[in-house]
Symmetry: C5
Subunit: 327 residues, 5 copies
C-alpha cells in the first residue's frame, strides 16, 4: 500500500492551504496558529514517529496503540491538551455477512486534529475532500472537525444494517415455507456478524456519550450536542441489531419446529403404510403355503374370502388412524 | 398526503383562536404572549423550515431529527428554554402482529408547543379536537398540554397489548391440544412484535421518568406527578409484554415436548406392528417354500401347527410390550 | 357485590369507636385528632368521590389509580403529608397454578389510613377484626397500622409458594419415572404463575425497601425496621420462586433427554427386528419361487440348508448388535 | 433434640470462665465488663425469651427471625450498639447433591456475642472448643470472635464444592462415552443443589462486604480486612459454582448431540437394510406367483437371472449409500 | 521443585546489584534506600516467613493468601504503604483447551516489589532478565516495575486466544460439512476453557481499572495511564472470548439443525422405499396364493396385468411424493 500523509491548514480569513511536505507542517505546527488537520494512512513506523513522536509529542502508549494492527476496542483517553480516540469504521465487504471493521486513531487537540489508520477509509476521504472545498469545516475548530469525521464514519453503518435486516426477514419467510439448512446457515452467519458489530458499537456509544457530556475541555460546550447526535445514531444501530437477533432467534425456533413436524408427517406415512400392508401380506402369504391339508384353498369362495378379509383390514386401519387423528 | 399545519392560540380571558395563516402565527409568536400550539404533519421540508428554523429558531440537529424518516428511539433533549421530545405512537394495523410505531416530534417551550409527525396520529387529533372545544387544555400551560398529548399517545398501547395477550393465551391452549406449526408461527410473530414494542417502550419510560423528576425548568413542579402517571402506564405495558414473552417461551417448550411425544407414539405403533407381523410372515413364507423334502407340509396338523405358532408369537410379543410399558 | 365502607376511630384513653355514617367520619376528620382508619371496598365511583376527593382531597391521579380496575404494578407515590401505596394481595384460587393477585390502594397520612380495594381482602379483614378488638393497633399510629396491613398481605404469599414448590418437586420425580406431556404441561403452568408472581413481588420489594429507608416523613424512624422485615419476607419469596424456576428448567431438560432416550430404544428394537427377519424372509421367499430349474429344491438337505442359513443369519446379526452395544 | 445453652466469659488477665447457669450469665451481663459469648441451640421459645428478650433486650423482629424455622436469606441488620447477622452453614448430607444449609443467628455487641441456631453446627462447635482452650480468641473482642465463627462456617463450603466439581467432571466424561439418562439426571441434581447454594452464597457475600467496609461502629477498623478475607473466600465459591454450571450446560448439549447422532446411526442401518432387502423380496415374491403364463419360469437361466438381478440391486444400493456418505 | 529466591537492588547512579543472601537483602531493606525487587517461587513456608513476615512485616492474611495453593480470584488489597495484588498468569498446556492459570502474588511498596508464586512464570522471568540487563526498569520506581510485570503476564493471553479463535472457526466450517460428535465435543471443550478464562479475566480487568484510577498513593500519577493500557488489553481479551462463545453457540444450532435434517432425509428414503415396495410385494404375494379358484392365474395376460398394476403403483407413488415435495 502506498503510504501517504496529507495536511490541510486554515488561517482566519486566509485561503485554505494543502501542505504536502513535512517541513511545511512542522513550520505551521511551530507557529501554533490556525487549524491544522494531518491525515496519515498505512505509514512506515518511522513516518509515524516523525509526526506522532517528534512533531506532536504524543504519549508513547497512544503511539503504540496507533501502530498496533491487532483488534482494539473503541475508547477515548484524555491527555489534557489532547484526546486520543479509537473508533471503528465499517470495512465494506461484498458479502454483507463478512461485516468487519477498520480502526481509525484520532488525536484531537485545541487547534489540530491528527487522524491515522492502516487502510484508506472512504468516510474519512469524503470529509477530507469536503474540507478541501469548504473552508468552514476547518474554521469551526478541532472539536467540530472531529465530530464531522466521526459522524461520517458512524453514518456508514446504518445502510448495511438495513440490508442485513432485509435479508434476515427474507430468509425468515423462506425458512417457514421450506426449512433448508443452507438458509439456516446463512441466517446464523448474519447473526454472527451482527453480534460482532454490536461488540464494537456498544463501546463506541460510550465514547460518544462521554464526548457529549462536557467531560473534556478540548470539546467546546456547543459542540457537545453534536456528539449526542452520533450517540442517538448508535442507539438506532443497537436497536436494529437487537431486532435482527430476535428474528434470528425465533427463526431458529420455527426451523426446529417445522422440521420436527415434517419428521412426524414422514413417520406417520411410513407407519400407516406398514400397518396396512404388513397384515395384508401376512394373509396372502398364509395362503401361499403348500400344506396338503388347507381346507380354505379348495373352498369355492376362498379367494373372495381373502379379498373380504383384506378390505376389512384396510377399512379397520383407516378408521383407527382417523380416530387417533393421524389422518 | 396532503400536508397540513394548524395552530391554536389562547390569551387569558379571551376566546380560543384557530390560526390558519403563517403570518398570523408569526405575529402571535412575536407578541410572546398567550399559549400557542402549532401542529405540523407530512409537510414539505420548506414548510418545516418556515416554522422550525425561521419562526422558532430550533437547533439544526433537532430539525434534522424531525425531518428524518428513519427509525429514531424515543429521547428528550434539553435546549434550556425548550425541550425536544421524540415519542412513538402506535401504528394501528389490522393484523395485531404487524404492530409498528410512528414517531411524534414535540418541542415544548414556556408558552408554546410545536408537534410534528410524518403521518396523522389519531391520539394527537383527539387532543387537538378537545383543546379546540375546552380552552382550559391550553390555558394550563405548555407542560400540561405536552402531558395531555403524550398521555393520549401512550394510552393507545394497552388495548392492543391486551388483544395480543388474549390471542397468545388462546394459541397456547390450542397448541396443547394439537401442536400445528401454523399456530406456533403465529405465536412467534406475536412475540416478534411484542419484542419490537418493548424496544420502544423502555426508552419511552426513561423519557417520562426524566420529565417527572424535575430535571427540566420548562416542566412546572405540580406537572411532574402527571408524567409519573404516564411512567406507571408504561411500566404496566412492560409487565404485560414480559408476561406474553414468558407464555410464548413455555408454549414453545410445550410444543416441542408434545410433538416429540407424538413421534414416540407413532414409532411405537410401527415397531409393535413390525415386531409382530414380520415373524408371522416369516413362518408363512417358510412353508411357502417348494422343497420336495419338507415333512411338515405333509403332516395332518401342519396347518394347525402354523396357526399355533402364530398365536404363540402374537401373545409373546404383546406380553413383551406390556412389560416394557409400550402398550 | 354489596359495596361497604367501614371506619375505626381511636382517641387517646378513650374507647375505640366504629363509625358507620359518612357524617360521623367527616366530623372526626374535621376535628383532626385521634387515629382514623377508613376502609372502602367495591364502592361506586360516587362513594369513592365522597371520601377520596371531598373528604380527604387526595390527588386526582391517585384517585384515578384507585378507581381503575386494570393491572397496576405496586408503587409508592409521595404527596408530602400522605403516601399513596399500591400493593398486590394474593387472590386465593383453588388451583394453585391459577395464582393471581388483587390490588389494595392504601393512603397513609399522619393520623389516618384509607384503604380501598375492588374486592374484599381476607388479610385486610383479619387486621380490621384484630384492630377492632385490640386498641393498640390503631394507637401506635398510621405508619404502624399500614405496616400491620401490608405485613398481613405479604404473609399470605409464602404458604402458597411452598405448595407450588412441593408440587413441582413431586412432578419432577414423576417425570423422571415416566415423562408424560400432561405432567410437563402442569409444571409449565406452575412456572407461568410463579413468573407472574415474581413480576409483582419485585416492585413490591422496592416499595418496602423505600418505606424502610426513611425516605418519607410520614413513616417514623422506629417503624422503618418493621418495613425492613416485610422486605426480608419478599426476598424469601423471590428466592423460593427462583428455586422453582430452576427445578422446572432442569425438569424440562430431563423430560427431553428421557423421551429422546425412549425414542432410541424403540428405534433399536425396530431395526434389530427388521435386520433379522427381512433377510430370513428373503431366503424363504427365494425358495418359494416356481422356477423349473432350481437345483436346491430337489436336494435332500435343501430344507435343512435353509434352516442352517437362517440360524447363521440370526447369530451373525445378534453378534453384530452386541458389538455396537445396541443390545 | 436436647436444648442447650453455654456461655464463655473472659476478663482481662483472669482465667476464662465457663458459665452454665442463667443467673451467672445475668450477673456478668449486668457488670458490663469483660467479653461474653452465649451460644443457644434448639432452645424452647421460653428459653430464647429469657436470654434474647429479658437479658439482652434485642429487637422483637430480630427475636422473631431467630425463632422462625422457615428459610431466611443471609442479612445484617444494624441496631446501633449491636448487629443482628443471619448466615447459612452447610448441612452435611451423605449425598453431595442433597446440599442444604442451616441458619445461624448471630448478635454482635461491643463486648458480647450471642449465637443461636436450631441445630448444632459443627463449625461453631469447633470455634467454641478452640475458644475454650485459647483465651485470646475471646480477648481480641466481639468483632474478631464473630469473624472467627463466620470464617469457620464459610470454610466448610469449599471442600464440598470441590467434590461436586470432581463428580461433575467425571459424569461429563462418562456421558461423552455413553449418554445414559441416569448420568444426566445425576448431573442435573448436582446442578440443582449448586444453584440452591449460589442463592445463599451471593447475599452472604454482600453481608461480608458490608462488614468489611466500616459501615458499622461495632466492627473495629483493623477487623474489617478479616471480613474481606471471608468475602474473597465466597467469591471463590461463586466462581467454582459458575464453573460447575457451565460444565453441566455443555454436558447437556453433548448428551443431546450424541444421542441424536446414535439415532441417526440406527435409522441409517434400518433404511439400508430395508432398501436392500425389500426390492430383493419383491423379485423373489414375483417369481413365486402361480400364473400359468410366466415365460421366465420355464427359462433355463431364469433362476440365475434372479440371482443376477439380486446382485445388481445389492451393488447398486451399496454404491448409492456410499455416494451419500451414509456408509 | 527447587525453591529459589532472587533479588535485584538499584541505587541511583550505582551499578545494579544481584543479591543472593538473606542478610544482604535484610541489610539493604534496613537502609530503606534504592529500589529492591525480591522474587520468591515455590519456597518452603519457613522461607516465606523469613521474607514476608519478619523482613517485610506483611499482613498475616496477605501471607496466608500467598501460601495457599487453592484457586483465588485476582484482587488488590490496599494496606496503605503497600498493595497486595493477586493476578493470574497463563499456564501453557500443549492442548489449547487445557487452558489453566497460575497465581502470582505481588506486594508493591514505595521502594520495593516482592513477587511470589508456587511455579516459575515465563512472563516474570523475561522481565527479571530484562531488568538485570537494563537498570532503568528498576530505576523508574516500584509502580512502573509492577506495571512491567503485570503487562508481560497479560500479554501472554492474546496469542492463545487467537489460536482458540482459529480452531473454533475451523471446527465451525467442518461441522457445517459433516456434523461429527467428536468435532462438537472439541468445540464444547474450547468453550469450557474460554469460559474459565473469562472468569479470571473480568476480576483482573477490575484490578487494572482500580490501579489506573489513582485510588492508591503507591501508584504515581503518570504511571496510571500505563495500567489503563493493560486494562485495554484485557478488554480485547474479553471481546475475543465473547466472539468465540457466540461462534460456539451458533455452531451448536447448526449442528442440531444439520443432524435433524439428515434424519429427515434418511426417514424420507425409508418411507419412500417402503411405500413403493410393500404394495408391490402384496400384489405378487397375492398371486402366489394356491387357491384352486383364482381366475386371474389362468388368464393369458394375468402376468402382464401384474406388471401393469406394479408400474401403476410406482408411478402413482412417485407422483404423490413429488407433490409433497419429498422428492
Ligand atoms: Mg490499532
Ligand atoms: Mg450525518
Ligand atoms: Mg424488520
Ligand atoms: Mg419478519
Ligand atoms: Mg416477515
Ligand atoms: Mg439526529
Ligand atoms: Mg449521524
Ligand atoms: Mg424522525
Ligand atoms: Mg389517561
Ligand atoms: Mg394472560
Ligand atoms: Mg393460559
Ligand atoms: Mg395512573
Ligand atoms: Mg395514562
Ligand atoms: Mg387499581
Ligand atoms: Mg407476620
Ligand atoms: Mg425443593
Ligand atoms: Mg427433587
Ligand atoms: Mg423477619
Ligand atoms: Mg412478615
Ligand atoms: Mg430463622
Ligand atoms: Mg480460615
Ligand atoms: Mg473442573
Ligand atoms: Mg472435563
Ligand atoms: Mg484469604
Ligand atoms: Mg476463610
Ligand atoms: Mg494463592
Ligand atoms: Mg506490552
Ligand atoms: Mg473469528
Ligand atoms: Mg467462520
Ligand atoms: Mg495499548
Ligand atoms: Mg499490553
Amino acid at each position: 500500500m502506498v503510504s501517504m500523509f496529507q495536511a490541510l491548514y486554515s488561517l482566519p480569513d486566509q485561503a485554505l492551504r494543502k501542505l504536502s511536505s513535512v517541513d511545511e507542517i512542522r513550520e505551521v505546527r511551530a507557529s501554533g496558529e490556525g487549524m491544522l488537520w494531518v491525515n496519515l494512512y498505512s505509514c512506515q513506523s518511522s513516518e509515524y514517529d516523525i509526526f506522532l513522536r517528534d512533531m506532536f509529542h504524543f504519549h508513547p502508549l497512544a503511539i503504540e496503540d496507533t501502530l498496533s494492527t491487532g483488534y482494539q476496542p473503541p475508547k477515548v483517553d484524555d491527555f489534557g491538551d489532547y484526546l486520543f480516540i479509537i473508533v471503528h469504521a465499517l470495512a465494506v465487504g461484498e458479502d454483507v455477512s463478512r461485516l468487519s471493521t477498520d480502526e481509525l486513531n484520532c488525536f484531537v487537540g485545541r487547534n489540530f486534529v491528527v487522524t491515522a489508520s492502516h487502510v484508506r477509509l472512504a468516510a474519512l476521504d469524503s470529509i477530507w475532500e469536503r474540507a478541501g472545498r469548504d473552508g468552514r469545516i476547518l474554521e469551526r475548530g478541532a472539536d467540530f472537525l472531529a465530530h464531522a469525521v466521526l459522524d461520517a464514519i458512524v453514518d456508514e453503518f446504518l445502510p448495511y444494517l438495513d440490508r442485513i435486516d432485509e435479508e434476515v426477514d427474507f430468509l425468515e419467510d423462506s425458512i417457514i415455507q421450506d426449512p433448508k439448512p443452507s438458509a439456516l446457515r446463512r441466517i446464523l452467519e448474519l447473526k454472527h456478524s451482527i453480534l460482532g458489530l454490536r461488540r464494537v458499537v456498544s463501546p463506541q456509544r460510550e465514547v460518544m456519550q462521554r464526548l457529549s457530556r462536557g467531560e473534556f475541555d478540548v470539546i467546546s460546550r456547543n459542540c457537545e450536542i453534536y456528539f449526542r447526535d452520533i450517540y442517538d445514531h448508535l442507539v438506532r444501530i443497537t436497536d436494529l441489531s437487537e431486532g435482527v437477533r430476535d428474528v434470528v432467534g425465533s427463526t431458529l425456533d420455527t426451523y426446529l419446529s417445522v422440521s420436527s413436524n415434517k419428521m412426524n408427517e414422514i413417520m406417520k406415512a411410513l407407519t400407516i403404510v406398514s400397518t396396512i400392508f404388513l397384515p395384508l401380506t401376512l394373509v396372502t402369504s398364509l395362503y401361499g403355503m403348500n400344506f396338503e391339508m388347507m381346507p380354505e384353498l379348495h373352498w369355492r369362495y376362498g379367494y373372495l374370502m381373502v379379498w373380504a378379509i383384506m378390505l376389512l383390514i384396510i377399512v379397520g386401519m383407516l378408521w383407527f388412524f382417523r380416530r387417533r387423528r393421524w389422518l
